[in-house]
């Protein structure tokens, strides 16, 4: 039996490598892990399909009716057998579950240091913005061997950002941030798609990921049509909306100081403790009273509808940059 399985696995492996048309390129750090599990699942499927088909065919021939008045024989219950084919599939399922879940949990945790790129989905295009301020439409340039975190949202309906070559996918939801991360391992050009039906031109909401050498990437960034970095744009907005009137940097204002706030756990008025991340900042700007800190009055107005998704991301980038060494030295 194990010999048979082994032979099957080897044959499958040969087919796998001989026909690259049967699977997408594996171009990210997690792709091979997913492929291995997929491969294992395919083996299980082939094994049981062959087992069931084979048994049925054998019985069909062996026990075909030979005479019209023929009677059947055989048992109609057998507890040990029932238990066997209940327990063995259960065990196989447990193995798959554990394997798949470990992989999933690992794949869904981004590494500590990652490059953030913002993606806004809208009917029917992908708007992508790099922290340095470079914008692209339906194209995504990333450096190879660098963890990249995609933070995304949608301006209208639910979209889904899907890069098959990286085996990653996540819904872009209106009104909140979701994120995925990947580390591209192969320089090249790969498709990305919208994988959640979103209306008329859903099938045209596709684009290309360009995985580049770090030097090429730097050159591309420098040559891009950027105006200013997202944080700088955010700083302007911060001034334009007079946020600094209350959010004084020394903490003496009517609102909390935002310096060094990002990434730290804060205790909310409701008693809940939350790490200040993009989602929390988004909530604080659009529905301020839902995430109040205890020692400040509820006087902040909602900015929902006044600033668009892109501006919101710029503001958040600015707040993130506050307290980082870079911005302190740049004279803030």
């Amino acid at each position: 039996m194990t010999g048979l399985l082994q032979t099957g696995a080897t044959a499958m492996g040969a087919v796998w490598t001989a026909f690259p048309e049967l699977h997408p390129p594996a171009a990210s750090s997690i792709a091979q892990g997913v492929d291995k599990l997929y491969f294992f699942l395919t083996l299980i499927t082939l094994f049981f399909t062959a087992l069931i088909f084979g048994t049925i065919f054998y019985f069909m021939i062996r026990y075909r009716r030979r005479k019209e008045d023929e009677l059947a024989g055989g048992p109609h219950e057998h507890l040990p057998l029932e238990l066997t084919w209940t327990i063995i599939p259960t065990l196989i399922c447990v193995v798959i579950f554990i394997w798949a879940s470990f992989l999933y949990v690992r794949n869904s945790r981004p590494p500590k240091a990652s490059m953030d790129i913002f993606v806004i989905g809208k009917q029917w295009m992908w708007h992508i913005e790099h922290p340095e301020g470079v914008r692209e439409i339906n194209e995504l340039h990333v450096p190879v061997n660098t963890p990249v975190r995609i933070i995304m949202t949608s301006q209208d309906v639910i979209h889904d950002f899907y890069i098959p070559a990286f085996r990653v996918k996540k819904d872009a939801l209106p009104g909140r941030y979701t994120s995925l991360w990947f580390e591209a391992t192969e320089v090249g050009t790969y498709h990305f798609y919208c994988a959640q039906y979103c209306g008329t031109d859903h099938s045209k909401m596709i684009g290309w990921v360009y995985v580049m050498n770090p030097t090429d990437y730097a050159a591309w960034l420098a040559g891009g049509s950027k105006t200013e970095s997202m944080a700088d744009a955010g700083e302007k907005l911060f001034t334009r909306y007079a946020c600094a009137t209350c959010h004084l940097s020394d903490g003496s204002g009517r609102g909390p100081s935002l310096v060094g706030l990002f990434g730290k756990p804060e205790k909310l008025l409701t008693g809940e403790s939350r790490v200040v991340d993009e989602s929390l900042l988004r909530q604080a700007i659009s529905v301020p009273n839902s995430v109040r800190l205890s020692n400040f009055p509820p006087i902040m107005p909602s900015y929902q509808g006044q600033i668009n998704e892109e501006q919101l991301l710029q503001l958040i980038s600015y707040i993130k940059s506050l307290g980082s060494e870079e911005r302190k030295t740049s004279g803030k």
């Binding site: 409701t270 529905v287 301020p288 009273n289 839902s290 109040r292 509820p298 107005p301 909602s302 929902q304």
Partner: protein, 235 residues
């Protein structure tokens, strides 16, 4: 019909007996089980609404409390009492049928209908009408009050749930009163007796169920706000 012989086996037809059953007892049990299953369906039907209500109540406790405080607790409380009383009269009507008393049967049914109608009268004529004048109908000139801060949209959401849930409940009441009207006529004609009162019994189940829904709606909608704004919890 080709199958008249079949019935001959089972003897005479008592009044109210349907051909597909073996005997009266089977018919009564089938009717009751059918009603219980129907009520299970109703529970899931309202369940979807309760679930959605809970999601948003948890998300926007302040706004839901603000909305709740605008409801008239007095009318809600009176109506709760009215409905509970109507359940009692309904139960009495069935009891009268079981003991073969025709007249009290009819009177209890009429009383049940009157209480049901009173509930609807209070609900529509006082509560909903006041809500209309105060511009609390979601989607139709809903007026966002300044004291709600940024939570106007969420208060409106509360009122959507309020009108949808109480409206659906009222619709069930109206259907119930319709059924009771038919039952009253049947009872007046002496259709129900000690051996046959199944329609009365299953309609009673339905009526009690509609009451129970209200027992859940009353605290969820009317008492969600408390008397005063909760400090610290906002829209």
């Amino acid at each position: 019909m080709a199958d008249m012989t079949v019935h001959a086996v089972h003897g005479e037809h008592p009044p109210g007996f349907a051909h597909q059953f073996e005997d009266m007892e089977q018919q009564r049990e089938a009717g009751n089980l059918g009603m219980w299953l129907f009520l299970a369906t109703e529970v899931m039907f309202f369940g979807g609404l309760f679930m959605s209500y809970i999601v948003y109540r948890t998300k926007y406790p302040g706004a839901f409390a603000d909305g709740s405080r605008l409801l008239n607790v007095k009318f809600g409380a009176v109506n709760t009492a009215v409905l509970i009383a109507s359940s009692l009269t309904m139960a009495m009507a069935i009891h009268s049928a079981q003991t073969g008393k025709k007249k009290p049967q009819v009177w209890y049914l009429i009383l049940t209908m009157i209480l049901g109608a009173l509930f609807l009268f209070l609900k529509f004529n006082f509560e909903w009408r006041a809500d209309y004048h105060e511009h609390l109908i979601p989607g139709f000139g809903f007026y966002v009050r300044p004291e709600w801060g940024g939570g106007g949209a969420h208060v409106q959401m509360f009122f959507l749930f309020y009108f949808f849930m109480t409206g659906l409940h009222a619709l069930h009441m109206i259907v119930g009163i319709g059924i009771l009207t038919v039952l009253t006529v049947m009872a007046a004609r002496g259709r129900f007796y000690e051996q046959y009162y199944a329609p009365l019994e299953s309609s009673g189940l339905y009526w009690h169920f509609v009451d129970i829904i209200w027992i859940f709606l009353f605290p969820l909608l009317y008492l969600a706000g408390g008397r005063y704004p909760i400090p610290g919890v906002t829209h």
